[in-house]
């Protein structure tokens, strides 16, 4: 799906990408990691045909600069920093749908899965949306289009747990036939989303490894927490995670598989308050009988 050969890019007199060779077969999900300035965003911009470069870049055999319309028709892109677009949400959706041959209904359906009420924000300028709303809309615009390659630059950074769960579900639904390139500063953020990790360091590939598919996309963990006392800040965050207090001091619900490390981070921050943690893959009694709380 992606073939980079000797990809080199210099900016401001320095080499940001230095002879990068990378081949990504269709259907692979890659975590592109590296520190600031490693070259992740530059690599994305080369893939999107936005930068000039030395070497060769091909998406499904097409040069994204010389054949940009055909090549980019296959690509859905979510930028790390939302653009400061002044246009209303409806105008943005319409524009993206028109130039990419997408169905506005498909984009709306993805937004709905992410709990973004398009009708409620359609007249609002994109730039006036909250960070989370912008991220959800950008994801909906990328995933609601007919694409075969997703380039996601820190895609879930601004999402709440429920939206993250829905986002992982959406990616899981496309895992078989969509190639994904997901960047992050931290591998633990996206490790469970991918089956290959590529680390960039000073513009070169420093690590290229496949990873086991543990905690795969679409998996769900049943959660039960016991706390020693009531604590409003804990309760608020637990609600954000979709947990419900089933008994005094006892919380239960589900957490998306790829989000379990983040969830454990939340538990660790309240270790003085938490008496017991149960985290089991699959749905628990409550969820199976319909009494549980879905994470999405």
């Amino acid at each position: 799906m992606i073939a980079l050969k000797g990809l080199t890019k210099s900016l401001g007199g320095g080499r940001v990408l230095d002879a990068v060779d990378l081949t990504v077969p269709a259907g692979q999900r890659i975590a592109l990691i590296g520190s600031n300035g490693a070259g992740k965003t530059t690599l994305f911009r080369c893939l999107l045909g936005e930068y000039t470069y030395e070497g060769s870049v091909r998406i499904d055999g097409r040069d994204p600069r010389a054949e940009r319309t055909q090549a980019l028709r296959l690509v859905g892109f979510v930028p790390q920093i939302a653009p400061r677009l002044e246009m209303p949400v409806a105008a943005l959706i319409r524009y993206v749908a028109e130039v990419s041959g997408a169905d506005i209904g498909d984009i709306g359906a993805v937004a709905e899965r992410l709990s973004l009420d398009i009708d409620g924000v359609r007249k609002r300028p994109f730039v006036r949306l909250s960070g989370g709303m912008k991220q959800k809309l950008l994801i909906a615009l990328a995933l609601g289009r007919p694409t075969r390659l997703l380039i996601l630059d820190e895609p879930a950074a601004n999402l709440d747990p429920a939206a993250r769960g829905a986002f992982f579900d959406l990616l899981a639904a496309r895992a078989d036939d969509t190639t994904m390139l997901i960047s992050s500063h931290r591998i633990d953020e996206i490790a469970s989303l991918v089956n290959r990790v590529v680390e960039l360091e000073r513009g070169r590939v420093a690590l290229d490894d496949t990873v086991a598919d543990a905690g795969a996309l679409g998996s769900v963990f049943s959660v039960r927490l016991e706390t020693v006392r009531a604590e409003p800040s804990f309760a608020r965050t637990a609600h954000d995670w979709g947990l419900r207090e089933t008994r005094a001091g006892e919380w239960s619900g589900t957490v998306a598989g790829p989000d379990r490390l983040r969830f454990l981070g939340f538990v660790a921050r309240h270790s003085g308050l938490v008496r017991a943690v149960h985290l089991v893959e699959g749905l628990g009694e409550h969820e199976r009988s319909g009494h549980g709380v879905a994470a999405t």
Binding site: R45, L48, E50, Y51, T52, R68, T69, Q70, A71, L72, R73, L74, V75, F77, P79, I81, A82, P83, R84, L85, E86, M87, P88, A91, R94, Y95, V96, E98, V99, S100, G101, A102, D103, D106, A109, V110, R113, L138, L143, G144, R145, P146, T147, R148, D169, L170, A172, A173, R174, L217, G218, S219, V220, T254, G282, L283, A294, T296
Partner: protein, 293 residues
Amino acid sequence: MRDTRVDHPRPAEARAGFWPGFLATFRLEIAEAFRARWFAAYALVFFGLVGVLLVFGLTESRVLGFTGLSRTLVTYIQLTMAILPIFILVTTVRSLTGDREAGVFEYILGLPVGIGAWYAGRFVGRFCLAAAPVVAAILGAVVYGVVRGVAVPWVELGFDIGLLLVLILVFVGLGFLISTITRSVDTAQTIAFILWLVFILSLDLVLLGALIRGRMAVEGVVAIAMLNPLQVFRTGSMLLFDPQLVLLGPTAYTVFDIFGRTGFMIWSFVYPAALGLAAALAGYWFLRRGDLP
């Protein structure tokens, strides 16, 4: 396990390349302008200008040989020449370079829209936006004049509207060129302002000083006047109202003497149009061969 099946769209067949991207971008440019403050201020200036001129100027009194709508039109044209270029330059470079700074280029040009279609859509959209209030204000004055029973100088009117359109084309084109070769709004605005200043300082009346001091050859002064789109517009716009160009300066008179009336009329259309389109195409060339964001 939750049901993770989601119907997702399948890759579509590629549609015809240029027109969908062009039309979508053109429509977006127009729609954006109606929400933008710059366009409201821009339209207000020209409609306000015509309103004031009609209230205070549409009389049968004779000033320097002009009466009624002719006088209003001449005054409007002269004022337009002062306001229009800098207004178009600044708003155009702010819009385009501002979009680049705001990450809009990175996102929009990551979509399957051709650079040519996107650039042309924005260029044509911006041209229409810049032209619409200027021409509409004149037409409003004409309607007002007809209702009041004042004679309308139709030939002069058509000629001057054409000149205004090519003047707008020049400065939209230059605005696009500046925007594609600069990376920050500050730099783009500075270049735009300096360019406008150069044109102003190359006007006939300023060149007269150089001529009088004898520091420049007449041919040099005439060449500068001929290449300055503001001077070409100024001379061309007075051509029909003042065939002897007695109200203009010495270089205009010399230019008229060399070209003749018809020759200058053709030049006053062809040169600015060619300059504006050449600037726009140069901008497109720079954009295509460089980094987009």
